[in-house]
Symmetry: C2
Subunit: 153 residues, 2 copies
DNA sequence: TATGTTATGTTATATTATAACACTATCTGA
DNA sequence: TCAGATAGTGTTATAATATAACATAACATA
């Protein structure tokens, strides 16, 4: 994956941060939830529910889909992962708690999904909502194309 | 559906427009494709592939999933419908050929999906792409929440 | 009419996700 | 400390969404 020199660090950081957030919110960061989040980050790129399932199976015997989806639901609800609807895949949130609107730049070549926030974007969306008297609950913006690394090769 | 006084008109308009576009591009606007597009518009709100399948089944005997998905692929490729990834559903494009970036305001109460374009939004996305040296191929923005009609009730 | 191309039919199956109910672990207050 | 409540997980089954692969038909054009 591009731009990630010490990947084990980002996994550790993400897990530690999740731990903190859960503690602060009095949520249970169970083994399964930790394992799922770790796998999401290990992949460092969107990962599919059934891939998580497969990889977890070697750690936890005979794990079943509902278990994985429940853990993902928990992580989604608490802003620790995002779902990329256009891929049916999940990616770790690199700044949990801080985001309101996030978007993804998804490279169709290398598969990287870069998570970003942008104040202008948030403003535009806010403006659109106001204009339409719309109460925003959730926003999903996915931009797919070719990343700089890939089309410069 | 809100704001649609003569719905049969918008269906007819959409079909006529599709006909024109296909003729101009030398594409075959077959019976199945027309039927699928008509159903998408008849619903006037996002419709699911298997609902199309079911409704078509009364018109065309024993229609199968691939047939529906192929028609949808054709319509998607040619900008006549949009896919709403967060719903796994499809909606007619109300201004085919004209849109570059489109977004949807999806009401979780009444199910309406309002399709809109916005120059500011396009600009912001363009800016983001440039900043990241990213070549945009496709953008999907879905804003879900409560529409004005619904939360004023 | 022969030929290539595009569209559709058909069977089977892959992929993604959830319902429903049983059981276990953890927490809370008496 | 134990009784009940709540949250989490196990398990079985199945629902919902989507595509692969190959056969046939329709259409376009030389």
């Amino acid at each position: 994956m591009h731009n990630c020199t010490a990947h084990s660090d980002c996994i550790a950081t993400a897990l530690a941060e999740a731990e903190e957030i859960c503690a602060a919110k009095d949520l249970r960061f169970t083994d399964i939830r930790r394992n799922v989040l770790e796998l999401v980050w290990t992949n460092h790129g969107p990962i599919k529910a059934y891939d998580i399932l497969e990889r977890l199976d070697s750690r936890i015997a005979a794990i079943k889909p509902p278990t994985v989806y429940r853990a993902l639901d928990f992580l989604l609800e608490n802003g620790l992962v995002h779902k990329l609807n256009s891929l049916n895949a999940f990616a770790g949130c690199s700044h949990p708690l801080k985001h309101s609107e996030c978007y993804f730049l998804i490279c169709t070549q290398c598969g990287e999904a870069k998570e970003c926030c942008n104040a202008d974007l948030s403003d535009v969306i806010l403006g659109i909502a106001e204009e339409n008297k719309f109460r925003v609950q959730h926003t999903t913006l996915e931009i797919s194309g070719e990343c700089g690394e890939c089309h410069s090769l």
